[in-house]
């Protein structure tokens, strides 16, 4: 227990000192890792703990990004007050969308749940693509770079860190709470949970909304780091990213997906620097992963330790 706490503090301290260790280029990569870590962790809240494979999670990442972008574009306030509200807007909008999507999706389980999330994602993707007056259509929404201190890589890094860490902490507490234990029960045996008096659909619905809320925040944070949002962020291929990160890191551990996000993003940068065949490399990695590390990186490390 104590050792765990020390690890937390050590990691946190390390994250705080990162801007003094990395070049601007790699600092932006670090921001990407942070936001995708939050994204993958929120996704795995559903998959690893609730047993629900959402195949449309990119929709919430994208909805968060677009809503924050639109708010940013129309905001008359100063940069700091705008960016104090950006996370709230992104989270509220994605939570609202998730209420509707989740309400219908949790009424089916297994592959049918996945297909429903997939279908809603395609609807939202089409909106992002076709509602040009709102989203900029195919060209996306650009010019999202904040001015002032948040325009600096290190400034934005600290901002993203200050947003991600509390959210990850909230997810951590939830997973280890009575609510989270019931959620784990749903993964094992939903019928048994129902026969203990729990309204299973409600429990799953709330989990879905929580997960989508944090995915939306991750999308918003990433949008201001790259300076733009594209409809492809909501495309179904984008929904594979959190799945891969979670599986790569290990869906059975809480922090596995964050490690997966780190490895995934860094490898993508390195591989695309050498060749344009990143999907090929990814394919090989997944093959090796499934055959050699079925429990993910975290599973592998804990085996080595034991």
């Amino acid at each position: 227990m104590k050792i765990k706490r020390l690890w937390f503090l050590f990691t946190l301290a390390f994250l705080v000192f990162i801007p003094w260790m990395l070049s601007d280029f790699w600092l932006y990569i670090a921001i990407e890792v942070l936001t995708f870590a939050l994204y993958a962790l929120s996704f795995n809240f559903l998959l690893g703990f609730g047993g629900m494979l959402s195949f449309g999670h990119a929709a919430f990442f994208g909805v968060g990004a677009y809503s924050a972008a639109l708010f940013f574009k129309s905001s008359q306030m100063g940069v700091l007050s705008t960016f104090a509200l950006v996370p709230l807007i992104a989270m509220m909008v994605s939570a609202t969308v998730a209420m509707v999507v989740g309400y219908f999706s949790v009424r089916r389980s297994g592959i049918y749940f996945s297909m429903l999330t997939f279908a809603f994602q395609m609807l939202l993707y089409t909106v992002a693509l076709k509602a040009s007056w709102l989203t900029g259509g195919y060209d996306g929404t650009m010019g999202l770079k904040p001015s002032g201190i948040l325009g600096q890589p290190s400034g934005y890094y600290f901002y993203a860190l200050a947003m991600c860490v509390p959210c990850i902490y909230v997810l951590y507490r939830l997973v280890h709470s009575p609510y989270g234990l019931i959620l784990r029960g749903l993964k094992d045996d939903p019928l048994r949970v129902q026969y203990l008096g729990i309204n299973v659909r409600n429990h799953q619905w709330i989990a879905f909304i929580i997960s989508a809320t944090f995915a939306g925040l991750a999308g918003a944070l990433f949008a201001f780091s790259t300076g733009n949002v594209f409809p492809s962020w909501l495309n179904w291929t984008a929904s594979a990213t959190p799945v891969l990160m979670a599986v790569l890191g290990g869906v059975h551990s809480f922090f596995g997906p964050a490690l997966g996000a780190l490895v995934y993003v860094v490898m993508e940068v390195i591989v695309t620097g050498q060749t344009q065949y990143w999907p090929l490399a990814m394919g090989v990695i997944i093959l090796l992963l499934v055959y050699l590390l079925p429990m993910g990186l975290v599973g592998f490390f804990s085996k080595v330790k034991a």
Partner: protein
């Protein structure tokens, strides 16, 4: 016109259920008084499983009514039924295999005490004392930290019973409580259930294939045959009824002798 439901913990009147052309249940009545151990027997296909699924809210009856503890349960989803003080075990044991025995109990206790929206506290210290009491009751204390999937078959059944008792039920519905056990283990298993239920004053309805098990603990028996109640009464009466012996017990005893030692595939 509400019948005198209060006298019965479970009161079933005229329940029918069809699947397409198949009449799985036709006008089944059943009354269970507090403290009774009521066995439902009948050959395969008699409608026992359908009846159980209707009782526990998985299936809606086409006709008829069910009162549990005086409350009409028409259209109740299972989780609402459970809140009336019902516990159900399954033919194929349903526990949480990836969790420890203690965590299994904590899930049940959290659900029972309505703590399932508590999202900030750690669950680890929640209800540990009560969980230990329940494990003592079913004799699983030694395995408290073991992962549930690694338990022996009989211990899984004990664990499921403990989970169900966390709800402090007034009525236990046990679907084939000795399914999958070797013939010599069955009596001991049902006697354990009987002892615990008697100690807690819980009524019990159970389906069972093994006649030795039925006769050992039941106070009353309902015999289902082709979806209808063939006969109903005190265990001794049913045992001696020539009709029942002819229609059911005769073939069952033969069937049972044939199946001793075989693994049940259900």
């Amino acid at each position: 016109m509400t019948p005198l439901t209060d006298r019965f913990i479970l009161n079933v009147q005229g329940v029918s259920k069809s699947f397409g052309g198949l009449k799985a249940l036709q006008g089944v009545d059943l009354q269970v008084k507090t403290g009774e151990f009521h066995a439902i027997i009948g050959p395969n296909g008699a409608g026992k499983s359908t009846f159980f699924n209707v009782l526990t809210g998985l299936l809606r009856p086409d006709q008829g009514q069910i009162w549990i503890n005086g409350v009409s349960t028409a259209g109740f989803a299972p989780h609402r039924l459970i809140r009336l003080g019902v516990g159900r075990t399954f033919q194929i044991t349903r526990i949480f295999p990836s969790m420890s025995v203690l965590e299994n109990l904590q899930v049940a206790l959290i659900a029972h005490r309505h703590q399932h929206w508590q999202g900030w506290l750690s669950y680890e210290s929640v209800q540990v004392q009560r969980a230990k009491e329940l494990l003592d009751l079913v004799g699983l204390s030694a395995q408290i930290n073991q992962l549930a999937y690694s338990l022996a078959h009989g211990d899984k059944k004990r664990l499921e019973l403990a989970i169900v008792l966390a709800n402090q039920p007034k009525l236990l519905l046990l679907d084939e409580p000795t399914a999958g056990m070797a013939a010599q283990e069955r009596l001991a298993a049902i006697k354990m259930v009987h002892q615990v239920a008697t100690q807690l004053g819980v009524s019990c309805v159970f389906t069972e294939h093994d006649m030795a098990v039925v006769f050992a603990v039941s106070t009353r028996i309902t015999v289902l045959h082709q979806g209808q109640v063939l006969t109903q009464g005190l265990t001794q009466e049913v045992r001696e009824s020539p009709l029942v012996q002819q229609v059911y017990l005769g073939e069952s005893i033969q069937a049972n002798e044939g199946s001793v030692g075989k693994v049940e595939l259900i």
